[in-house]
């Protein structure tokens, strides 16, 4: 009995022992850590509760997005109700979403994903998203480009596709980025100053514009792609926002895919596709490759195959605002245009003949300049330009194909005019095979756009293949295309030409200062290279650089060449002259070049040949100590200068009158003899300095020639001021305080009162010394 008692006591101890752990408090019961009852529920839960969204929820389940819609991710969900969904499915010939999923699982994934926008966008953000300023945007800032950031990244993607890469001559795995969905807000149309209803319904005729509906205290409304938002507005959920929409939102494809899938545009598509480029993406390969290399589908032209205008996820402002505007000609339109523009005489007989560069310009003419969506009303107003700055000349109401894509807008046209660039002053470069090197020079100089501008007028010399050859330049095939190259003695081979050199080349052949090249008389034409001129004398043309060669008594090559205008054939699409100027060909065996060789400082400093017309002037400069013996240049400031150089005869004649030259004498053969004291040296130097106008003391933008407009009183480096007179036919010069008659220019048959232009200045020979 006692043992029983003891046992009972022990059991008592055991029960006490067992009861101890149960005394432990549980912090998870603390209301501070409890799941609050005030939570609104996830988007998924909200839709479940709402009840009428079963098909959409089923779709979410089928494609595996249940966890993210149900709280794991922050999302903005566009939810179409069962009625809308059933109607969509019916339209595609399905009775249920399960059926569609069974047949087209990827399509369902794309479709559902397109209704899920990354992260939470409330009503205000959809109306006027501010990616740059953020929440702190002031009212003033919010007015800037209000509604322009209208596209939002969804979870809809094509994933990986296999495509042929011409460069590798093999198929590659191409990764597709997630689509953006456009939200057209009333703010956007308001900012653009266009009618929302017309412009929205232009693209979505089956959907009513309800974007003018707005919530209390909000600044506008919106339609989401092809759907209207129902009246509940932005429904707040625990994981973002929810919008009830009246239609299933169709996933948008890229412009590239749309073109690819439309047979009527196969020519344009093929032309574009020639510029496709596949780039391996290391990050994507690491993250998603699972052993395969992944590529992105780019292009050397506009990358319309990219889902995003900018492939970086960081470029939110770009991707949410920008898109491509493509004005694509249909096969018929292209056919029509070709036969009008390229004739057999120009060297091109079919599209395949065309050089790649020409095609690329042709295609780029179909791209809108602005990367913001172009609406029809804006086109009508002429506010939409091509890449080259010319207005898109179409009637939007006649556009046969209108498509908003995930990366831009597509206008499909059955008719097309000659693009502005093709009918500009450099049009021949596109049109005529002879001028192909010139086209490459233009392309490399990046001057095509400015030369095609309708707002300016040009005179262009168009050099042909032979002239390029004469200058040791030719087209060479390189990886990815062709290139204009020049022979390099140093390298012993043809090498690339830098864009500066090409700009010089092109500018030396272009002038904006003249309207026409005269067939008679004397004409000085300023080229687009500063202080380089074309001199036209009696229907022949030369350059200021070639003109200088006449000073050299031993020079015996041609200086002047014939030139002739280059015009459209009768069949020119726009008819008549080039749109913005005149084009000429010239007969020089080589290209016209800018002045090269010794600068004028050196030319005047080192003349030891008595047969040069400025020999004695050079000698006086030496005597006056104005020549730096070390550098063999005139000791003057670095500024550009104009020198008036008395001819040898003039100096010989007036040597005694030249200050400080009393001890000098000049022989008949112009030999200068005698010595000079240091006092005289100073006198002489001061005197000679008065023959120089320097741009630091008297700024000038042209060299003086008859009619140049450069005249009046100028400070010189010396003590005297110079007065330059120009009556439009001839020039004369004198010291400002001199009462002597002005000295006229030294006239010979060769020199035509024209300046000898060098890179650092020019000189004019005059008939007498200045007194």
């Amino acid at each position: 009995m006692k043992n029983w008692k003891n046992l009972l006591r022990l059991m008592g101890v055991a029960v006490f022992c067992a009861a101890l752990p149960s005394c432990i408090e549980d912090i998870s019961n603390d209301p501070h850590y409890a799941i609050p009852e005030t939570l609104k529920g996830s988007a998924y839960e909200t839709l479940q509760e709402k009840g009428n969204y079963t098909i959409f929820l089923k779709g979410i389940d089928l494609v595996g997005y249940q966890s993210i819609v149900d709280g794991m991710s922050s999302l903005t969900v566009m939810a179409p109700d069962d009625e809308a969904f059933a109607s969509y499915l019916k339209g595609r010939g399905y009775s249920s979403i399960e059926e569609m999923y069974a047949k087209e699982p990827n399509e369902v994934k794309k479709l559902i994903g397109f209704h899920l926008v990354y992260y939470g966008y409330n009503w205000d953000k959809f109306v006027n998203f501010r990616p740059n300023e953020g929440d702190e945007a002031t009212e003033e800032e919010r007015m800037n480009m209000a509604g322009y950031y209208y596209k939002f990244q969804t979870r809809s993607s094509d994933g990986m596709t296999r495509e042929y890469d011409p460069a590798q001559k093999d198929s590659v795995d191409v990764w597709h980025l997630e689509r953006f969905i456009p939200v057209f807000s009333s703010k956007m149309f308001e900012t653009k100053g266009i009618d929302a209803k017309y412009n929205y319904e232009y693209f979505f005729p089956e959907t009513k514009w309800t974007g003018n509906y707005t919530l209390e205290n909000k600044q506008g409304g919106f339609n989401i792609a092809n759907a209207s938002v129902l009246n509940e507005g932005d429904v707040i959920t625990d994981n973002g926002y929810l919008y009830y929409v009246d239609k299933v939102i169709r996933p948008m494809e890229t412009i590239y895919t749309e073109l690819k899938n439309n047979e009527d545009y196969s020519t344009f598509f093929q032309l574009y596709d020639g510029y496709s480029r596949f780039e391996k993406d290391v990050t994507l390969t690491t993250n998603f490759g699972k052993g395969k290399d992944l590529y992105l589908h780019g292009s050397t032209l506009l990358p319309i195959a990219y889902e995003w205008p900018n492939s970086s996820y960081r470029a939110v402002d770009v991707n949410s605002r920008e898109g491509f505007n493509i004005f694509a000609p249909s096969n018929a339109a292209i056919r029509n245009f070709f036969t009008n523009y390229w004739t057999p005489s120009s060297g091109y007989t079919s599209f395949e003949d065309l050089d790649q560069l020409i095609v690329s310009y042709f295609i780029q003419q179909t791209f809108g300049k602005e990367l913001f969506i172009a609406f029809p009303e804006e086109i009508k107003k002429g506010n939409v330009l091509t890449t080259f700055g010319t207005p898109i000349n179409i009637d939007p109401d006649k556009v046969t194909w209108r498509q908003i894509c995930c990366n831009g807008v597509l206008y499909g046209m059955d008719d097309m005019n000659a693009p502005a660039i093709f009918s500009s002053v450099i049009g021949s470069a596109f049109r005529d095979r002879r001028f192909l090197p010139y086209l490459y020079a233009l392309d490399g100089s990046d001057l095509v756009l400015s030369l095609a501008s309708p707002n300016a007028s040009f005179v262009a010399l168009i050099p042909d293949t032979a002239q390029f050859k004469g200058s040791l330049m030719k087209l060479e095939n390189i990886t990815g295309g062709r290139e204009l190259q020049v022979w390099s003695e140093e390298a012993g081979a043809y090498t690339s030409i830098g864009s500066n050199a090409l700009q010089n080349l092109v500018n030396m052949h272009i002038s904006t200062s003249a309207d026409v090249l005269k067939k008679e008389g004397l004409q000085v034409v300023e080229t687009n290279v500063a202080f380089n001129y074309w001199y036209i004398v009696d229907g022949k043309i030369t350059t200021s650089s070639l003109f200088n060669q006449q000073l050299n008594p031993t020079w015996n090559s041609e200086i002047y060449f014939d030139f002739s205008p280059l015009e459209f054939d009768e069949k020119s699409p726009n008819g008549g002259l080039w749109d913005n100027g005149r084009a000429y060909v010239y007969t020089s065996p080589k290209l016209f070049e800018t002045s090269t060789g010794d600068p004028l400082r050196r030319v005047l400093a080192v003349c030891n040949d008595k047969s040069y017309p400025y020999y004695l002037f050079s000698q006086l400069l030496v005597k006056a100590g104005l020549v730096s013996e070390q550098q063999l240049t005139i000791a003057m400031s670095d500024a550009r200068f104009i020198a008036f150089v008395p001819s040898n005869e003039a100096i010989k004649r007036g040597i005694e009158d030249i200050p400080g030259c009393s001890s000098f004498s000049v022989d008949d053969d112009y030999t200068l003899s005698g010595t000079i004291s240091s006092a005289n040296k100073t006198k002489l130097a001061n005197y000679l300095r008065s023959y120089f106008i320097t741009s630091d003391l008297s700024p000038f933008s042209v060299y003086p020639y008859p009619g140049s407009g450069l005249k009046g009183t100028f400070d010189t480096s010396g003590t005297n001021k110079l007065v330059l007179e120009d009556d439009g036919v001839s020039l004369a010069v004198h010291f400002a305080d001199s009462e002597n008659a002005p000295v006229t220019l030294y006239q010979t048959e060769k020199y035509h009162s024209l300046p000898f232009a060098y890179s650092d200045g020019c000189f004019l020979l005059i008939n007498d010394i200045l007194k």
């Binding site: 912090i27 991710s73 990616p131």
Partner: protein, 1090 residues
Amino acid sequence: MKRYFIVLMVLFSLWEGATAQAQNKVLTGTVVEIIDGSKEPILGANVVFVDRSDRYLTGAITDLDGNYNLAVPSDAGNLRVRFSYIGMKTQTLEYTGQRVLDITMSSEAGQLDEVQIVAKVIERNDMGISFLEQTSATQKVSMSEIVEGTPVSSIEEALQGQLAGVDIVVGGDPGARSTIRIRGINSLNASSEPLIVVNGIPYSVDIDDDFNFATANDEDFGALLNIAPSDIESIEVLKDAAATAIYGTKGANGVLLINTKQGSKGKTRFSFSTKFTAKFEPNPIPLLDGHQYVSLMQDAIWNAANAKGLTSANNELNLLYDTYDINYNPEWMYFDEYNCDTRWLDYVRQQAYTTDNTFSIDGGGDKATYRLSLGYLNEMGTTVGTGLERFNANYRMAYDFSDRLRMNTEFAFTQTDKQGNATTSVRSEAQRKMPNKSPYYIDDVTGEPLPTYFNRQEEDFQGAFNGSLGGSARNFNPVAMVDLGFNNVMQREERITFNAQYLFPFDLTYKGYVSMNMKTVKTRGFLPQEATGVLWTGNNANLSKDAYSDNLSLMTEQKLLYNHTFAEKHQVLATGLVRVKQNENYSYSSFTSGNPSSGLSDPVAGSVVTSAGSGYSKTRSVEAIGQFNYTFDGRYVANATINHEGNSAMGKSNRFATFPAFGLAWNIHREHWFDDMENPWLTEGKIRLSLGWSGNAPSGSSLYLGAYQTLGEFMNMAAIYPVRIQLDKLKWEVSKEWNYGFDIRLFDKVGFTFDYYDKYTSDLLLSNVRIPSSTGYSTIRWYNSGELSNRGYEFRITYDAINTKIWKLNFNFNISHNENKVEKLPVNMTEENYTFGNGNYAIRVVEGDPIGSFYGYRYLGVYDNKEQTYARDAAGNIMYDYKGLPIVMKNGTTTAFPGDAKYDDINHDGVINEYDIVYLGNSNPVFTGGAGFTLKYKDWSLTTFFYDRLGQKIINTARMNLESMYNTNNQSTAVLNRWRSEGDAEHTNIPRALYGMGYNYLGSDRFVEDASFIRLKTLSLNYNLPKKSLEKLGINRLQVFVTGYDLFTWTKYSGQDPEVSLPSRATALAQDNSTSPVTKRAAVGINLNF
């Protein structure tokens, strides 16, 4: 049972007989006792020859048949034979040359009176002073009661709440260091830890400031009191300066006197106890699951990106769109590994058990007593990979060479193996770790975890590994870390003490000891690459640590005591002592990386030595102390102590200092007016007053020395330059303490003790004080300046409510209050820099305020809408700018938006910045104390003990970090209630999630919480099995107990546990960083004596 231990007893007798010499004459005989009328031989009885001065000459022990053979010393005259046996009356007979001497011994039962006299032997302390003669504040607890029913693994744990004025905060991990503060914080930079004295010998616990090589951290080398609680007899705390004076300046922060058990005369006793304890860790703060976490991260990052403007938010965009760790994309290669729901904490926590076994033998005779104890403790930590294993052996032997000379030897050996994790931040890492990540690779086909740890770190959402072995670290796989990594500390300690006492004539006594303490600490650590995911070529790849330190501490004390009573009434007690101490430390450490495994981590083969270091230090101190105590008629006591002490850490001008102490006491109950009372109501009554000065020296060796460093070459000559200033005038930090107290015991039932103290510390020691660079130095190592005071009182009550044979009930209660105050700011105290930023509290030492004060912002909740964010003037009206637009509040530099934290704009300037900081409270408890009762009914007893700390405030940093929503750390489920849209402020004060920006968790009163608590520390039920049934088994006592430990805590504190460890630096903030919380434990065990 006795027979089984005969061999042991014989061995002792042989030892005792070492002084015996070979003799020709032999005395033989038989020793018997009468049991039930028949003679029964006594085994093991002690038979010795003693001379006239009671000096032992030869001795023997009786055999199984009670026979003995005893050699007769050559000097046969004046000899006596003494027979003794435990429990028997000792008999001494004149030796008259007998050859045979038989004797019958009788039981001691009839000697009760004498025994009672022995029991009333006045207990005297080391200085020979009895309780009655004391004038200072002390308190003594007997450990046996605390420890027997309570499974504690450390003394600190056992003492918590038991001692008034002693504030102990224990840590949750096995072997974690506890904080002990006696009567508050007394120093800003010097140590505030009390001195621990074991059996009269100061025990070295402090870590020198110059002990700083790479491996050192508090826990590795920390002052674990390597003494098993079961070996402790009693603990006494000396609180006031007068009481601690005899321990020199080391005792300035209070002294804990620990006396270990020793052998006592009597039969050999064996005792065995075993305890089995299960630990129950409180449930952790609930954290977000994988889904909730991803959702929160996206929300937080998205909010931040929008606040900045997306185009300026590169990092956020990267996280939002290109970091698939939190961005659902089934095509991603690690999709499976990042779409889990991992409760990381559950992987690193474990159910833990502790077993504690102790065994001891003790006994002794007239000449010698002994005690041998062995103990083995195996404690598991609640964090996987942590634990503590301790083996200890203690042998004490006292031998009376004569009535005058007594020698005492003690040998103690302890080995503690502490298993720790390779980084100290395993739990915090597990807490912050993204819960959507898997600890293991997932099989793509089956979806099941593979056995390989998933340690992807590069481009990881939570970054790459950052940290060190043995220290704190971030971004690793905590599961792999606890499974494969370790940082184990093996500490072996041997303590040998020789004690001698000699009674000179004329009441003069000599006491002295030599004590050696050898401590060896070996640390081995391994940081597994599987956990860190670092490159194999990196320094942290399979990093292994090997460190060793050796400490030898030598101490001697020579003491002369004089105790004489003149004319029966004038008792004089004078003591003089000299104490010398030397401490030597050697250390070595090496780190190697690229080891193939933890087992193959030899620094000389196949690995790269990344760093190595060694150190040596030596300190000495000498103190000379004199004490004089005069008692008149047992009623009036006067006491004076003087301590002259030198320390090698001090500058030469002040190396030696003198600290006096005085005390007065009046034993009221000894007054003669009580003499006539038959039952005086006042059993005990005493009024005390004491005043004492004490010093505090910086720790370390030769700190005063200036130092030079080589400059390489200067102007083609070798050059040096001074880097440390010579501190010849460095002074002791001096505190002066008044103590007033009384002890009263009424009707021999109720006891009261009250103490009031006033401690004033001046010449505060400040370390690394910045000085003008014009001096040529940037800091001065130590500097004396500033004054600090601690005032407070302590109150204790004990009440023996019922005391009958069947029922016993007693209560005890203690409470103490301490007020700390900065009296005078140090002259060039460098205010800790306050940086405006989240989580930062201003650390200020303000004259008149206590140390440990919090300064920060006043939190007002969350802005719910745009209008609420408008700044308001003092009258509450919206303020407008010059354009007439309302001014929006700014938190620092960022504009406030709906959902952001709202703070009190104290100065109404529309900006929350440091000018809005206010005092928020402090971490000093208003009251600390304990209370309990013991109820006994027959063989049952129920013991409870409550511990409380009231009125202290704590910064709940753990909650702050779990609700900040500022970084990638996982958060508590409280953030589910965060502000998300307008209207939410009605039901939440948690701001919106905002990643890496904004000021939504500035140091404010939102996280300063009242951490007052009352805790049921122990609830223990004991049952002593009935003696009668045990006696048959030869068992004296068998006690079974079950104890619950830390079962209930009454607190409003929202963290896991309000008992938060205090910072080691006085000026640091007391904050809850969520280390392992104190676990609740249930123990069951038995105590067996036979």
